[in-house]
Symmetry: C2
């Protein structure tokens, strides 16, 4: 039942990722937005179990915003058993707390376990239920563990594609090396300690000229404070140059 | 310009959270879905800067899926400067890499910094640009840092509410104590070591009766393997009971 369209190029360079299985999706839009959510984070394998919305579905095509690499590779199954038959580890996703006899994991923990399983060449899939009703108890029984995303207890209203988005985001993040903080791009070379000292010397000299410090005691404390204030920042060479120009102009103005 | 409706009860019990500022949103639906995304993860303060979609907006009311605690508290501003005037630290969010002279942070790092800032009683906000065009350079200049979410470089297509959702999710997660893995709920009391030993003894005896091991050499190795196989699992008392019943029945069947 695999649709015969070839997946677009985007999918080809992506690393292996877990499979997403939508059980009885009711709205074509949600299949489209799910495909879009997945591809943003490098998931490409989407399976539908007897979609109530019918398949293929024009609304899904519109809603996927060009995520054809996922949409065109969708595989259809009559039963959830068939859809997970080749998988080694299956997570069910459910919002409702039930009397479950399975481990419940956060999305973060689930993708960590998934990377581990996939490193051991096991295939992993995530089951999502119908929009209105979620997974049935029979579908839940097929799963090894349950993925549950902690939400505001007074307002828990994630739609299908959003739940898939959060899982996909955690998946991508767990394999992504983007540094948490990338430093600001600086204009010009960083200033050397000597250049910063040069500025400090000029500044203190200029302040001495206008008798800014009043007394030797005050001078000692204030010079230390100014030193710390200037040195704790990281300056570029052009900034030090500009700063020295400002000090020079101000002190010449004061003497006029 | 604050709308006068009272925020619904849900917002009242929530801890302080960062502010979300939408600059010139074009579609009312997106304001609604943004409100919904936020409230799922405990963010309630939403500000709009000259919304192109007009305000109030019927489509936003429909799209928010009941997130009135956010929608009814929305504040309107004419300029982004006014919208951020009371904030101490502002993040811009942008998908496009530009020649920025500001630190670029992941959502995870941004919420970590935000918790730190809020612990020091500083207010933090996140700016999101118009759907089609994103933030202008002037809006970017107002920010202290830039939030950028790593995406599949071949398909980067997050909509406004999805970007807000990921930020809100990271925010909630950073303050949430849900354990990564919650153990499966077990039926009945865990079995004691003695009960497991009892099962093992019965099993080995039964296997001896049917000459399962064939030789003393094989027996030694296989008994060790069976011991490990049984002992490494955590059994409940009813499971051990059931298991012993199975062994008994099978071995009686073998003797019939």
């Amino acid at each position: 039942m695999k649709l015969t369209h070839k997946a677009a190029g985007a999918a080809r360079h992506l690393a292996p990722a877990p499979v997403v299985v939508l059980c009885r999706p009711q709205l074509g839009e949600n299949v489209g937005t799910t495909a879009r959510a997945m591809l943003n984070f490098g998931l490409t394998e989407l399976r539908l179990v007897s979609p109530e919305c019918g398949w293929p579905n024009a609304k899904a095509v519109v809603a996927c915003s060009g995520a054809y690499a996922v949409l065109n590779g969708i595989r259809l199954f009559d039963t959830v058993e068939q859809a997970v038959a080749d998988l080694h580890h299956v997570y069910a996703t459910t919002a409702r707390a039930r009397e479950l006899k399975k481990p419940i994991v956060t999305a973060e923990a689930a993708v960590r376990e998934t990377r581990q399983a996939m490193a051991e060449e096991r295939k992993v899939g995530f089951l999502f239920g119908a929009e209105r009703t979620g997974l049935t108890n029979e579908e839940l029984l097929l799963a090894d563990a349950v993925l549950s995303i902690p939400l505001n207890p007074d307002f828990s209203s994630l739609n299908l594609a959003q739940a898939v988005l959060l899982l996909s985001y955690e998946w991508f993040k767990s394999g992504d090396a983007t540094p948490a903080v990338r430093a600001a791009r600086k204009e010009g070379e960083p200033a050397t300690k000597a250049e910063v000292d040069g500025l400090l010397g000029q500044l203190v000299d200029s302040l001495d000229v206008v008798d800014f410090f009043k007394s030797a005691d005050r001078r000692q404390g204030l010079v230390r404070t100014i030193k710390v204030m200037i040195e704790r920042r990281s300056w570029t060479r052009p900034e030090i140059h500009l700063f020295r120009g400002i000090v020079k102009e101000l002190s010449q103005g004061g003497r006029r």
